[in-house]
Structure formats: C-alpha cells, structure tokens
Amino acid sequence: MIGADTLAVGRAAKGIGQQAVLSVQGLSVEFGPSGNSVYAVNDVSFDLAEGESLAIVGESGSGKSVTVQTLMGLIRKPPGRVTAGRALFRGRDLLAMPDRELRQIRGRDIAMIFQDPMSSLNPVLTIGLQLTEALREHQGLNDAEAERQALDMLALVGIANAPQRMRAFPHQFSGGQLQRIGIAMALVCKPSILIADEPTTALDVTIQAQIVELVVRLQKQLGMAIIWISHDLSLVAGFVDRVAVMYAGSIVESAPVGDLFSATKHPYTIGLLNSIPSLTAANTRLVPIKGAPPNVTLAPTFCAFAPRCDHAEARCRQARPPLEAAGADQTVACWRWREVERGPRTGAGAADKPAVTAPKQEALLTVTDLKVHFPIRRGVLRRQVGAVHAVDGVSFEVMRGETLALVGESGCGKSTTGRAVLGLERPSAGSIVFEGRNYAGATGEELKQRRRDMQMVFQNPFGSLNPRMTVGRIIGEGLRAQKIGTRASRDARVSELLALVGLREALRNRYPFELSGGQRQRVGIARALAANPKFIIADEPISALDVSIQAQIVNLLDDLKPRLGLTYLFVGHDLSMIRYLSDRVAVMYLGRIVEIGTTKAVFGAPLHPYTRALLSAIPEPDPKAGGTRRRIVLGGGVPDPSKPPPGCHFHPRCPLATEICTKVDPARRDFGSAGTGQHLVACHHAGEATS
Amino acid sequence: MRRFLISLLPALALMLAAGAVKAEGGGTFRSAMRTGCIEMGTLHTTCGHRLDETVLQGLVHIKWTGDGVQPMLAESWKTADGGKTYVFNLRHGVKWHDGTPFTAKDVVFSLNLYANPKVGSPWAQKLSAVAGYKAFQDGSATSLAGVKALDDATVQIELDSAKPLWVELQLIAISIFPEHILGKVAPADVKGNAFWVNRVGTGPFIWKKYESDQYVEVDRNPDYFLGAPKLDRIIYQIYKDVPPIIAALETQEVDAMSYEGGGVPISELPRLQKLDYLTVLPKFSAGLPTYLQFNLENKRFADVRVRQAMLYAIDRKAIIDTVKQGAGELLNTLFPQDWARAKDLEPYDYNPDKAKQLLTDAGWDASQPVDFIYYYSDQMNVDTVTAIQSYLAAVGVNIQPRLLDPAAINQVYADGSFQMGFFAQGMGLDPSLGSPLVVCGAKPLAMGYCNPKVDELFNKGLESNDRATRAASYQEASRILNQDLPKAWLWNEVRPLAFNNRIVGLAQHFKQQPLVIFNHPVYNEVEKWEVAK
C-alpha cells in the first residue's frame, strides 16, 4: 500500500498529457496467408499520454482487441502478421524489439486485463501462484516478499480474507471477484500502462459498476495510463479522457470524450450514438445503422463504412479517407465530415417512436405465485438434498397489447420465468392463466394449443437456429408442427414472414451459418410469428448482437407489435433498452419480483433499493451525465439461489436493511397513483432515502 | 526434453551391452519345451519326451535306437510262460532324489496308482492286461491282483493271458513314483498334488525349480545309477508357440527344441541351416501317418469310391515337393514302418479324371459343401489344407476348412457331427499302435469303420514277438486298409530338428535315432552329454 502510494505521487508529479508514454504509428495487422488476408488492423495511430485514459470503442471485429494485443505481442504469428507500423513505448519500438526484451515490458510496464475473468485465469493454478509469478519473474522477489506484495494488491482491489484466498482456485470465486483478481494480477508490478480489454462485458451491470469504479480509483492511486477497450460508448463516457472509435480495422474518429459526444463528426459514431437509447434524452425512435459490420477481407482501399453510410458518395468507395484533424484535439477519417452533422436522432428513417396505443386494461396472461425449483441430488443414493429456487413465487399480469419487461441480473430467474410461462420448464407451483385457461402443468394437446398462441424469441442467434435446416424450414417449422395449412400455403406464409421481418426471399434456402447475427435474429422472430401468436416472449433477444444491430431488431419488434396486435413479455438486462421499449417493468431479484410498475413510474421514481442501485449503475452515453448522477454501488454479488437468504432475499446487499429484513419476507405494497398506475414494491423500506 | 533423452542413452547402451555377455556357467543345457508338457496330474505324459526321463523313470525305457527295450529301474526281467507272468529284478542301491531307497514297494504302488479308477488316468488301460484289472476298475478289488512284490528287489506281474510284447508295448509307458511321498496322498487328490511341480524321481537330474510358463530347472544327480551326468543342469524353457523357439534357437537362447508340435517348421529350415553353430536334421522321420479322416457313419463318405476319388484328386507328390519342401514320404496305408507294409499297394497316383469318374459313379452331390476340420495351425499345414481344398474343389468336392482346437474337435467327435478332416496320428514304434484308428468300434477315431478281418490281423500281430511272423499279419492288413481307405492316407510326416553344436552328444544321438518316438520315455543317455569346451 505504501509502495503504491509513493509511486502514485511520483507519477502524478509528471502530470497528464505532457508526453506520450505510448505512441502507435501506422499499425497494420493482417491474418492468414497473403492474398487471402483478413485486414484486421489498418494504419492505426494514436498516442497515450502518461496517466491518460483512452477508450478504444468499436463493434465486434473492428480490430480494437487485435490492436492492443499486437502491442503486447500477444497475437499468434502465424497466422497474424504486422505489415506496417511502430509502437513506441518510452521511445522503444515494441514491434521491433526481440521477444526477450518485450517480455520484460509485458506485465511490468504494460499490463493487461481481459474480458472473461473466468477463462483468463488458469483454472488449475492457485490465485496466489498466478498473482505472484509476475513479481517473481520481473522483480526477482522471493516467495515471501512476492506473497506480501500480492496480498497488498488483493486488499487494494477489495478481496476480503486475502491470505486464505491466495490458496483458492479461480472457480471458487464469483465473476466480479475474479475480475478484481485479474486486475490485481495486472497491477502487481505497478505498470505505467494498463490495457483493459472489455473487462466488464461478461459481468452484470451492478458488478460492472464496481469494476469501473475500482479501476478508476486505482488509476488515480497508481497514476497509470489506461487503454480501455469496449463496444459500449455509454460505459466509457463516464470515466475516460479520450475516445477512439474503430470501424473495420481503422480508427474513424478520435476525440476528447466531451467533444466526441457533443461534436460528433464521423457518420459511424453518429450512427452508434443514435442506435442507443438514453436514460435522460427524449425517448425518440432509435435510428439503426443499416446493414452489418463487414468482414475485412478486402484490402482497405476505400472507406469501409461506405456501404452502410447514408452520406457515402463515389469518392468514399474509391479511396480511403485519412485520419485528419477536425478540431483542437479531434481527428476524423471521413471525406465528408464537414458536411455531416449530428442532429437529435437524425438520418434517414429517423422518426418519432410510433405512438403507443394505450394497452387495453385486460389481462392476457396472469401468473400467480409461480415457482420453479430444480432439485439438487447428492450423496450415495442421490437423494434430493435441496433445490435451486430459480423462480420463487412470482406473480404478474400481462395486459393485452402491452410490453412487460422482466429485468434483473443473471441468475435472477427471469429467463426461467419466461420459459415456464411457455411450458418449457415445469412449474413446481403456481398458476399460469392465459386467456382464462390455466396452463400450469399442461401436457400434450393442451400444451400444443398454448403454443399456438404463445411464442418465444430466443437470446442466442447462433444457438437458437438448427444449423442443419434452411431458413425456410426453420421459419415454417411451427406451421408444420401445428399442421397448419397445406405445403403450398405454408410456403407462401414463409415468404410473407420473410418480407415481414425484412429478409429477402433469396435467403429462404440459406443455412444459418451463412447469415449475420442480425439476420439470424430476424429469422428467429419470423419463426415465432409463423402461426400468428398473440403473445411473444422475447428472451434477451438483442443481448448477443452488436450495438448497431440491436437497434434494428428493437425497431422491428416495435413495428410488429401494433401491426400484428402482439403482446410482449420482454426478458432483458439492458435497462436503457428496456426503458425505451417497455410499457411496464418487473424487476426480479433472486427468483422474486421486487418491484413492478409502469416504466415511467419505475424508472422515474424507483422505490426498491435494488431497483435504485440497478438504475444508477446503467452507464449513460453522455460524459456530462456521468458526473452528475450518483451511483449506488452494491457490495458483493448475487447469493447462491439454492440457499437464498432468509427474509428479504436482498437484505445482505441492501444499504437500507434492518433487523426486520433478515426475518420477514416483505409483502408487495402498491405505491401507485392514478397517474402512474399500479406500482408494487416488495420492501420494508420502500422509498426511503439511502444515507 | 532433449537433454532427458540424451541422458537415457547411456542407460540404454548399458542395457544392450549387458546382453552381449552371456551369463553361462559351465554345463547348462537349455531345451525348448511346449506348454502342456508339464501338467502330468493324470500320470500320462502328453510330451513324454525329455523332461520325464531325466527325473522320473520307469522299469524299462525304449532304446535310443527305437528297436528294443532298455533296462532301467529293472535290471532284468524274464517270463517263463510266453508272456503271461513277468518277473522283474530291480536294480540295487538306487535311491530317490530325497535319499530314500527305491524298492519293490514303489513299483507295486505305482502300477496300482495308474490302474486306480479314483486317480482317473487315461493310461490305466496300459495295464488292462494285468490280472485283476477289471476287478479293480469295477470296485470289487482295491488293488491289482496280478502285481506282487516278491521281495524288496523283485516284482512279479501276472497278466490275464500271454502277451509276448507286453513289456515293449505297454510297460514302457509306466513311470515309477515314490511310494513314500505319493502313498500319503488320497488317490483322488493325486491330480492336483504339488508333487507334479516338485517331482522326486530316480533319474539323472534332480527337479529343482518350476516357474509356470517359463521353465523347469533340473540339476545333476551325482548318484545316478548309470553314472553321474556331465551336465550341471538342464533348463527346459517353456514356449507356447513355435516361432519364438526358432528365434531362440537362432540367438542361442536355447540349444534344442522338442519335436512335439512339429519340430522346426520346414519353411524355417534354410534359415537355420545357414547357421554354423546348429546341426539341422532336415528329414527326421516322425512315424506319423497323415491322412484325411472321414466319418463313415455319414452316408456321403460311406461309399469307398468317394474316398478313393479324393485320394486320386490330390497331387500328393506336388504337395510334398513344394509346400512340404520334400519333407514327407508318400504313404498309402496305415503303417509308417516299412516292414509292416505290403509292397504291392495301390499307389493312388494323381488322377483327377479318375476321381471325377469315381465321384460320378458314387453319385456324389457336388453342391453340398463338406465341413472340414483341422488342427495344425502352422503355415505349412495351413498351406497343405489350402492345397487339398483346391485339389478337391477341382473335382467337385467343396470342403470348407475350419481350424479347431482339441476341445472343439473332441466335441465334434462326441456329438457325431464330424464329417471330414485332416489329421495325423503318432505311432512310430510299432504297427500295433495303429489299432485305435481302424479296429471295429474304436472310439472316437475309427469313425464307424469296421472290418473284422482287420481286427483279426491286428490281434494276430500281437501273438508273437518275431518280426517276420508279425510282418505277415500287418502286411495283409495294410493291403486291406489300402483298398478300404477308412482314411485317405496321405504321407508319413517328417520332422526337421535342430540342435546347437555346443551340446556334445545331443545331435550325434539324434542322428542315430531312426524316428521320433512319441509319448514314451526313451533312454537317451543324457548323462553322457556335455557342453563343448
């Protein structure tokens, strides 16, 4: 601790922005044999000042990770090749130095944390060994000294009980703890640059907030520079100094974070910002970027964004625009940046969100006290010794024509609830009444009947389509299963559905692997709509998609709802998107609904402390907002659902918890008014202010 | 890793170098033996050769030259009544390897042990001519009435009727066991007794050690009554299969191989003949008529023309010349002994046309395949079966060869489903030993053949010990068997043998031995062999 502090002072004295600790110049990386290359990184240049934090933002395949991994010498060669460029670290070219030298810099001067904390730690080695090995390698410390420093670092990242935990293995930690350990591991040698490669993508939003906070704190404490790789503009808006936006292997725009949001220059950046809903901005219709990110298999001799750009002209397809200065500290790579301007949700197809027809006050679906328990069997005789209380007494109604969103962090039981409603999981208790009929425990013909009216759109666009069926067969499957129509009429219906979800007829005979993620999700939607259901359960339908594609799918769902008279149960964890598309929201925690009400009421005046924490953790795509909003960072992680805490499930993490919360499970109370509608909250201290 | 491999090399080299030094004390003879030769729980010796006679011995053994009987534990014997009563004078001063004196009690005990129905020895019938045998078998007597110890050194054996050849043909098979050891064992338990893996005998070598499936080690008996052996010890190395024996002969890991199981495969001869440290006897008569066996109770083979046709169909000479590389002599009747065969036998020269004609005449149904069983799995015999199959197919006899093990063959015999097969039967010593193949009702090998004239001639052959007299009977029988073809006689087998010249006396003796002698202890003068200097 002491060491860290003095070091921080030393670094801080140099100040920020005085000199580039890292200067990347014209970096190009290709993969595969020449002639058949993937142009992963094209002519990327940026500077990183001492103590500065830089975000590199881009969608999957944009080359952001390859860029930093190349700097670290982490890409495998072959197939990877650095075809041009320099990367000067304190004046020494990282790309030219022999591996032996680079190794001295890796881990000591430049450290890295990775996306998936679970897979980036070695599962068979103890945390202690993995923490200390860099110390022993770089600083030649003996075991005791290395262990002492590692313990200091563990304490610094907030791992309790560190001495015992040193002997534990990675699988014995939660994801959030693992990422803390990953950070400790990167920082043990007090590097001057930390590269964070999407370190929060695999984490829940409340944990993500913890990690971001930790890194920001440590950066200040240790005075290091940070390169933060992310696909999420909103996330980085709150804490970095500069942002570089990458697209198809190139930096298209780079600016101080404020300028990037307020004076956005590049059409792609504009497109990205228009694709994400804002918690604070007006609730206007999302404007997606058309098309999908390209595979970078063509030599970068043109603007890669041109096919998706509304401003593209002939020039864009003939020559690649250079990255040029477009302001004090802003650069942009676009031939037409001077003509492009970001208005509020401008661009082709921009329009107001379609007027929501007021939902009829008639319950289409009523779920009462639903429980889904999965037995745990142990011992010699495999006796049931307990159960995972995945869904533990959930009640809600879905009104005809509305969108009810079910939100919560992973493991809270929201997906299981959705599946139970459709009959994919057998409820242990409770009733599921759809249009007046209780379907809980339905089998056979009854189940089949239910499935004609209810359908599901699944999360994973890769896993939810049978890879060995053509698109046409996948879409028509429900019709065949329900024996609807003749072969010819089914064929016609498939064509109709393809058109409905915005897919070309030509795709009918394609296989899923030939489609992009967005197209697959459209196929999934078309499949669900085939038999004209009344009710769609959408289970995180956009969470696996790139930002620019998410908006496409959300808009499609939004458009279809009034056209086909659908009702949605939307399961998700992306709160800003949910706020954008739902009429009412139910917040789940550990198998129970803690708060349910209209979107306006819940988002506007959240009453349950968990909801409040959840909402405060949502990153906002506006650097200014980041400063003003007060974040409630919850301690710890979600408890084991097979051993839920007694009383209120949330009490161990709750800032308001009192004696009663540990004993009595709070009943739901209605805090709604005529204006806000029903607003049920299950909390003894609902609405009380946090200290 | 490379360093690791390099560090292994010296160790490897050391191991290989150790192989170059042959750790051989003076005077060890290593002989290869096939598995199965060791189990002797039912007293009979399936591989009488070599091991038994070095440890255990009988009253008499067969002479080295195969033409007479050598006194062993019995110094002399005489019969006063033309072979009904024999009196044996035992050798004096003989001691068991454990030091106990050998006496007439041991002889009486041993003969009774063989005949005891509770022991269940298949060789009990060797004593079936002894007076009182039947009573012993059916339980009305508890010992053989005909066997008596006249004193400590004299034994009298009385037979039911006069058998002038009894000693030569039957007694030679009987080994004498120590009464003071096996006498304590209940007869029914003799089979599983530890004695058989820790034998105490009177022979030139003393049983020392038996390692299952590895070897038997016997050490020199300095008190041997025919003179102390020159070899220090003999190690009988046990092998399951022939190829490893050949390899061991070549590498001098063994000095000799037994001739049970085929001796040196003919195909390996050229290889061994090239080695100057080996003496190879390429054409050692096996006294082993080889034939096609038919089930005469099966209608298809009942017609003699069918059997004759098969013999005409096969070019036996070509098979001997090529597949058997000359090792084998044509045989057209049962007896391998020259003197027992008539000179005017039908030669059944290769004549496929005649074969076809005979088959047509006999109304042979060529569409029906014939189940054809054989046992010898070595390359030469498999090739032989292949050639036979091909020759028979050419005349319309479609045999389907199946290689079976003894148990399966005996099962096929027992349940009567046997059709046809390729077999051989060792009977080198005397023509009378062929009787189980051809006399009426002899099970299982006669296969339904019955010619009272043949039975009569076999009986006659045993009434005298004068060879000329006997020859007349057997030659007559040979003519009948040549015509009747109860089996289709093919040839007399030849067994090549190979010996390491290191053992002086071994090869020389075998050169004198006219033929392989199966199943009977032979006086082989092992005490005179020695390791060359």
Partner: protein, 299 residues
C-alpha cells in the same frame, strides 16, 4: 432496406449449402483429400478385383510357389503358388467388409441405445449406462477371443462379434450428444413451436449429432480393420483358404518369410497400414469439415 447490403453480397456468391461447405473444407484438408483418394483406390480395386487380377484368390499353382514379384505375378506368389496381388485385392474385400459391416452393426446398436438412454433419461438411462459400463470393462480383444471359441472362427462370426462388442463408445457418444443438444436453444425453440418428440429427434437431434458420430464411426472402421488383422493373425478371423490382410500377414510369423520373402507380408502389411491411415486421414478431415463450431458460428 436494412440488410440489403449483406443480402447483395450473399446473393452474389452461390450458396454452397451445408454439405457443400463441409465438402469444401474437407477438400481443403490436404491429408483428408489424400486419404479419400487412397481409400477410393483401395476400395475400388477390391471391388473390381475380378477385373484387375489375372488370377483367382485361391487358385493354387504348387509348382510356381514362393515366386518373387515379377512376370505374371506382380507381387509374387505365396507358399501354395497363389497370386499375392489377387489375394491382396480379394483379401481387401474381406478386411474392408469386416470393417464396414462390424462398424455398421455397432453403430446401429450404439446409436439406438444412445438415443434411448439420452432421450428418456432417468432409470432407462441408468440401466443402459450400466450396460455400457459393463461392456466397456471387458477387454474387447479378449472377449472376442473367447467368443470366437464359442461360435467358431469365421469371417461372418468375427464381424458379428466385433459389431456386438464395439457399440458402447458410440452409444456413449450419442448419449452425450443428445444430452448436449437437448439443452440447445434450437431444441427449446422446436419444443416451444409444438414440434413433437419424434420429429425433434429426427429433424433436430439426429442431423446435428451426425457429424461427431460420423467421425467416430469412420475412425472405428480403422480400429476394426486392425482388430480383424489381430484376430486373423491369431488364426481366429478369416479361415484358410480365404484371404484377409490379417491372415496373409500371418505368413510373417515364419522368420524366413519375414527375412527373405518380404513380398508375402509387405503387401498385406502395407495395405492394412494404408487403409487404416487413409481412413484416419478421412476421419480427421471429416472432424474438421463437420466441426459444429463452424456452422454453429461460435467464436
């Protein structure tokens, strides 16, 4: 409008389809292509043996035995003067037939049992897994030796016995695949559409577990060819005079043949090695070509 750009690029290249894509990847695999060609030549030569070989496989010529290669006998003759080349081809028929038929039998049993265990789960699964465990604890070769002693050696028996004893690995694989597939979202999707269980098995589960099973089956063929060779070498497989590569290799037990008549054992040995090698190559290629990673689009 939205995916127009991508639509265009896809429409430009003709769809190869699922199998087309697999075929392309397979053919890109150099060793696999080589293996396929080798295997095709071997199989074709064996099938067309009567047209290629000048002699019958069992045509003996005692006076012309043990001839070295050359002249009328391309690969020489064996101990009874049979043409080695002809026997190689006809023997290949037996060896390959044993391989394919035995594996077909074991695959049929294995897939059936695996499907039943995987689909029904529970007690049925427990029972069948017990059965699988039981058969797996037997050393296969040992049990086959004992079995052949029971039913008698013949190529038919060898095939059946190998088939009857080799299914557990495929059953296990099938069961595992089904268990893995059962939790795939597209199976959930099919269930949610009301697709009936038999249709789910037929349309969703079977086609998707096909590739790993196909790979396993292919590699099994190679194993069985080796097993047949071992059995025939021990005299328990193909019976004389019929040829199989394994019993031809038996000649090499004779040391002088091993040393001075290599034409009798090199060809069958080489054929065994080549057949097994090419099947292994093909299996390896199939594994890559059918890798579900590629069509599932995972990362």
């Amino acid at each position: 409008m939205t995916d127009a750009a991508l639509d265009m690029t896809i429409a430009a290249g003709a769809s190869r389809g699922l199998w087309g894509e697999a075929a392309r990847r397979f053919l890109n695999h150099r060793l696999a292509t080589l293996g396929l060609i080798m295997l095709a030549i071997i199989v074709l030569a064996c099938v067309l043996a009567p047209l290629i070989a000048h002699y019958g496989p069992n045509e003996i010529d005692l006076r012309g035995h043990n001839q070295p290669p050359g002249g009328m006998h391309w690969l020489g003759t064996d101990g009874t003067g049979r043409d080695i080349f002809a026997r190689i081809l006809y023997g290949g028929r037996i060896s390959l037939t044993v391989g394919f038929v035995a594996v077909a039998i074991s695959a049929a049993i294995g897939i059936f049992i695996g499907c039943v265990a995987g689909y029904f789960g529970g007690k049925v699964d427990l029972l069948l897994m017990g059965l699988i465990d039981m058969v797996l604890t037997f050393p296969r070769l040992v049990i086959i030796i004992a079995f052949v002693a029971v039913v008698g050696p013949s190529i038919f028996n060898t095939m059946v016995v190998i088939g009857l004893l080799s299914w557990p690995s495929i059953a296990r694989l099938t069961r595992g695949e089904i268990l893995a597939l059962r939790n795939q979202e597209f199976i959930l999707a099919a269930r949610s559409l009301g697709t009936s269980p038999p249709v789910i098995i037929l349309e969703h589960i079977l086609p998707n577990m096909l590739s790993p099973i196909l790979v396993a089956i292919t590699l099994d063929v190679a194993t069985v060819i080796l097993l047949e060779a071992s059995l025939s070498f021990l005299g328990l497989g193909a019976q004389a005079p019929a040829a199989s590569w394994g019993n031809m290799l038996r000649d090499a037990r004779t040391l002088s043949i091993l040393e001075s008549q290599p034409w009798m054992w090199i060809p069958p040995g080489a054929m065994i090695a080549m057949a097994v090698l090419s099947i292994n190559f093909v299996g390896d290629g199939l594994r890559d070509a059918l890798d579900p990673q590629h069509i599932m689009g995972g990362k």
